[in-house]
Symmetry: C2
Subunit: 595 residues, 2 copies
Amino acid sequence: MEVTRRNFKESLNAVYSALEEADFLAIDGEFSGISDGPNVSALTNGLDTPEERYSKLKKHSMDFLLFQFGICTFKYDQTKSKYITKPFNFYVFPKPFNRTSPDLKFICQSSSIDFLASQGFDFNKVFCQGIPYLNQEEEVQLREQSEERRHQHANGVGTPSFISPSSKGPAHVPEEHKDFINRVIGKVDALLTNSEKSLDLDPCTGFPKGIHVETVETEKKERYIQVIKVDDEERKRREQQKREREQEELNDAVGFSRVIHAISKSGKLVVGHNMLLDVMHTIHQFYCPLPEDLQDFKEVTMCVFPRLLDTKLMASTLPFKELITNTSLAELEKQVKESPFKSPQVETAEGFHSYDTAQQQLHEAGYDAYITGLCFVSMANYLGNAHDRADPTFKTLFLMRIIDIPYLNVTGPDLQPKRDHVLFVTFPKEWKTSDLYQLFSAFGNIQVSWLDDTSAFVSLSQTDQVQIAMNTSRYAESYRIQTYAEYVKGKHQNKEKLGQTPKSWGEDGWRKPHYASATSAATFGYPRYTRAAGLRKRSISPVQGEQGSADAPVTDGWSNYSYPDSAGSKKMKTDGVYSACSHTADGFRDSMCSG
Amino acid sequence: MEVTRRNFKESLNAVYSALEEADFLAIDGEFSGISDGPNVSALTNGLDTPEERYSKLKKHSMDFLLFQFGICTFKYDQTKSKYITKPFNFYVFPKPFNRTSPDLKFICQSSSIDFLASQGFDFNKVFCQGIPYLNQEEEVQLREQSEERRHQHANGVGTPSFISPSSKGPAHVPEEHKDFINRVIGKVDALLTNSEKSLDLDPCTGFPKGIHVETVETEKKERYIQVIKVDDEERKRREQQKREREQEELNDAVGFSRVIHAISKSGKLVVGHNMLLDVMHTIHQFYCPLPEDLQDFKEVTMCVFPRLLDTKLMASTLPFKELITNTSLAELEKQVKESPFKSPQVETAEGFHSYDTAQQQLHEAGYDAYITGLCFVSMANYLGNAHDRADPTFKTLFLMRIIDIPYLNVTGPDLQPKRDHVLFVTFPKEWKTSDLYQLFSAFGNIQVSWLDDTSAFVSLSQTDQVQIAMNTSRYAESYRIQTYAEYVKGKHQNKEKLGQTPKSWGEDGWRKPHYASATSAATFGYPRYTRAAGLRKRSISPVQGEQGSADAPVTDGWSNYSYPDSAGSKKMKTDGVYSACSHTADGFRDSMCSG
């Protein structure tokens, strides 16, 4: 169902009841751009920490507009043995509510706009018919303003609209207008004594108190004031009407945010594909400005989406990582139709647009949400328990292109892989990748993750060579090498100078959990999808221990070519701790594709 | 004529010949927003200096996109005694040329987008079919790159596309790909000896040198390499073809900028309504990034638009200021149809869309350009010499909402009105306009121009009261008063600290001209439109002297209400110098309208 400003109000009940009855729902967003700063490969450096990734996305992605939001609800019908789907495709635009409400500016990135244009995206639907919205703070502010105005009116103070917002004070009546104003006062006085019922003033502003006064708009959008002589009862009735109208206008202004509130309130499982940006944009646009700190972001996320599942992460994890070669949404959707998977049995609910996966409508948010849900059902069916309504809660979000941290753990601390085979190298800005290959040629295969023009992470294939590399660099003048630990320490010291608390590091190379919420202990660990444990429960294992690395994830699916050989990296898997290096082999790619 | 990416190339000749034959042309632009910082009333403070105004517009308006450009050419037909018009409406969008070309980001302002949407603006035409463009520097860069690639190719170095742009060096061939590459080399070697004519390689990259190699794209946008065995002559022919194709692609990328170059080259008079922002955007987008300094901007403007005329300024100037009450484009167009003006005789050229001014299509750039031209013709006809082809060059641009400097003089120094009745006041941020009125209540009527939350200009109606106001403020703690001269001096001292040259002030209150170009002396002064002198020549008068203020301009037409009484300000006209105060009375308004 396509929902714009024109049919939003009449569609709301359909949205609410779809959410109410759903077993789960899938979501997807389309944005006006991705990065207003670094290019995508710099924005998603393979050795970002979760904090760095979050803070880069917050800084460089949030000024774009989420302008299309797809929701597809899935409800299992026992008698038909199939899922009934209800896809919604919302167009969203921050149309200013009135002259004093915030006039939002957003960025468009030419390449993103051009890409959506090539997919047949309808920009007129966004800009001409997009549903408005307010975040929580704006909503509260607007309701307070309205309440205040009503209060002042009731006390006969005159509406604040009498005070021009830009002049910061009541208008000073200039000499040449005094005549005009006196004439208006005369007319209103006369109305009180003559037999007329009402008086239309000329298009202008300013009116005295004491009788019912309304601003009326002509068809030509000219506003004039209607002064109506009414008895007490009639006045109250009119004021009640006016208040109801105002309330409805306020609800209209809250607009699409009401849908997000309803999703939160439903507590239903929300599925998305590579959904970190979708979640960030949704919170930022419809709930509150994103917090500085990753930990606070996780808490807000738990408020807005109490149950989340990322199908890109699921597909990158055992047992699926061995069955699925490409985890981009379009490819995943094709693969889960074929053996060993089965196409899920689905049916579109009556009155809803029926998508045909043969005629791909990729990058329409409603369609993407629909096939994300299909992928989830196929994978869950493979595990044997998709429509078991028990709790398949995986509060983790896929972290695209990070070599050794596959996901963001929304309910607790993130994985902290050992990176003791990683060197931080600074060098003159003329250097290229080939210079680094040459510099480290004695140490076998390396991987280079560029940070900026004069620095990069270089991952050696064998940790025991780190010290040798450090030694040989001692007298070098043109470049400088630090271990990853030294680099992190330096960064923390900088942060401390800026008044931030340093994080403590455990002896085993994992960060000790600071976060003390009830759920943190239970979810600290890696979610393993196994046929036996199924979706109902994640097998929880402390990360310290052999089993931690047994089914460690990461097939990323965006690979075009890979640098290192896998022989070298396998030798490194010696300590039983979740191993950075076993993922490095297939996790290190360099490509522009995203999924 | 509507021009998009689809018909741009075949329309170019029509554009060129229309410019070639035109007597003058009118232009107009539509933007994705106006201000990304202060609201419009702060962006256009009534006491801005031209430098301040330019620098604010440069800072807060240039990240928006000029996405619709209207041109209407006017050619007088002697036999028909009417103007033949050719209106063009171009949609413009910075579609990236290729993966390595700049990926432009631009801002959209919700209120502007919503306004254009309400006027029926077609955003899909912009984003899906907009004509691309490059500024001069980007064009040069692209041509150099192309030349370099050709040169390398000719020398058998292999194209730089072999080097991935993000990896900053040649690809390091991983072990597992070596087999594949060896197979390709084998196939190419075989081609040289077998009877086949060409060889299509699998979608992939990398090829050896020595024979003609081309990248071919399938319908599905998959790129593969075609290796063709050719003799020397055939190879040269194919390379010539390839070069021509590249040249054409480059011209396509320069796109809409070619139209702007053609306007510049034509040297024709370019008319616009309130066109400062249009000129700034045009230069910024299609020519070069705007210079820091206003003086440099004027020089660039003279390069791009050697002859400019602003109809809003014309309508605000004698004799028109006494005939025209509202200078917004829509109102002006209505007024110049009626006595004492006459509707100009115009006819749309064959094959062009004929606009009907009864069915207003305001805010379509082509229509706005068309009626701007009509306004110019009507006003010029009133002066009796519109189709006299002599030079009606008025190199001045309207400065919206500045009280006492009506225009920017593109060919020389700007007017520097005395502002010795103006005080610069700083105060606690709680203060409102009413506090200022109270503070200065002893000094008669005042005008307040807000600068920010804690400062404003306050104009007294009588200059001789400035000293009294200064004296009474001596012991004040909560607020502080400076004369305008002190304020300017303080600003210059700050600038000097930052290494900028201070400007010298003449004794008469006007800035002495620094600018030494040949035209500066002749154009330093106020252009007076008189029936006798007509459009051919401006009567040039030094600004010092009685006549300077006699026909001084400014009716701004955006007034809803005005603060001061005019009695007070008239007393101030004592020194014969171009008087700030005579304009103040009707020039000081506060409204959101623009024209």
